[in-house]
């Protein structure tokens, strides 16, 4: 079996840790990685609900207070006419998280059902999920920057809303979920082509 980190080859009933780099060797059966995937997945899903219901930003301008959720933030950007930024925010904080939930669930289910088809496509999907998940953090950073910058007392003040916390948590949980995947389980029941 091979080390998932540095590729060193060990003899079959190998040690728990790679002798070269000390990474945990997960090829031992039964593979419990899926349980972790599901655990983080549901944690992320639960955190994602309040992230959409509660306000992300609290803007006080000339005595008026307005609160906006993630979706309202996108709509507001559309009203200003900055379509490209609206699309970035929409993709980063709505499309990517929801797409990620579906992608992780699909990957985990197809491993559990031992689906043999489309291994290459599924592996590609896994790579995309792992790579793109971090980018959802954009909205949290935007809130932080706005709140740090716009503190002009009466004229305008921006404060973070409670959704910022749950959204950040949701992103972190789904990142952990994607990292818990053992990519070898995708290959295990699939491709038998010559290497």
């Amino acid at each position: 079996m091979g080390c998932p980190h540095c590729g060193r080859v060990h003899e079959a009933p190998g040690p728990d840790m790679c002798v070269r780099c000390g990474w945990r060797l997960a090829a031992n059966v039964p593979d419990t990685s899926l349980q972790w995937v599901w655990a983080w997945f549901f944690a992320g899903l639960i955190a994602y609900i309040p992230a959409n219901i509660y306000p992300m930003l609290r803007t006080q301008s000339l005595g008026r207070t307005s609160e906006s959720t993630i979706l309202e933030g996108v709509v507001e950007l559309l009203h200003y006419g900055s379509y490209s930024v609206a699309i970035i925010v929409f993709v980063a904080s709505i499309a990517i998280p929801i797409g990620k939930f579906f992608a992780i669930a699909y990957l985990a289910l197809s491993i559990q059902r031992k689906v043999r088809q489309g291994v290459h496509g599924r592996y590609r999907l896994y790579e995309v999920v792992e790579f793109i998940g971090r980018w959802s953090m954009i909205d949290v950073f935007v809130v932080a920057i706005l709140a740090a910058l716009v503190q002009l007392d009466f004229a305008a003040t921006i404060n973070p809303g409670i959704a910022a916390i749950s959204f950040a948590l949701s992103v972190a949980f789904t990142m952990l979920s994607a990292q818990s995947f053992n990519p070898k389980t995708i290959w295990a029941y699939g491709d038998h082509s010559k290497t």
Binding site: G2, C6, G7, A144, I145, L149, V150, P183, D191, T195
Partner: protein, 199 residues
Amino acid sequence: MIACPTCDALYTLPDVAEGARARCRRCHTVLTAPRNGAMTRIVMLASTSFILMLAAIFFPFLELTAAGRTQRSSIMDVVLVFADGPFVGLAIAVGALIVVLPLLRLLALIYVLAPMSFGWRPARDAIPVFRFSERIKPWSMAEIFIVGVAVALIKVAGLAHLSLGPAFWAFAALVLVVALKDNFMCRLTIWKTLEHRRQ
């Protein structure tokens, strides 16, 4: 002999020419991509990013003018916005993601690779340190922060006049240098060299 880190296909790796890359035939993961003088370059680039990071933290990042008042904020202010009330956890998280973890990763890389680029024996505990730096890699989000800045700029553009401070440019340069550095990194070569030199 090595096993592909993602799909376990076994290979006897030939000597890969410098500048070339070896990919797994089954899953197309890059197995190894040695670069000429990569270790020295990584150390240089990591040191550069370290200095840029220090500049980025302490100089003013953005400046906002509205109704005759000016508000300046550095990255530290961005982190500290969340510091009161229920947002403490978020302050720690944001600080970790954009400042602490990237800094730690740079320091760890310098610690591991600098002795090796001089041709010395690896430093003590180089192995756990390098493993740590690889583990925190997905969590250092400096480049995402830059995109966040861009979005925030457009959001307040109608509200007030904004100008970018020196720290913004330092941070933007940092993101580029880090990307360049990661491009030179070949995990397998580093592990092989670490193992080889330790004996």
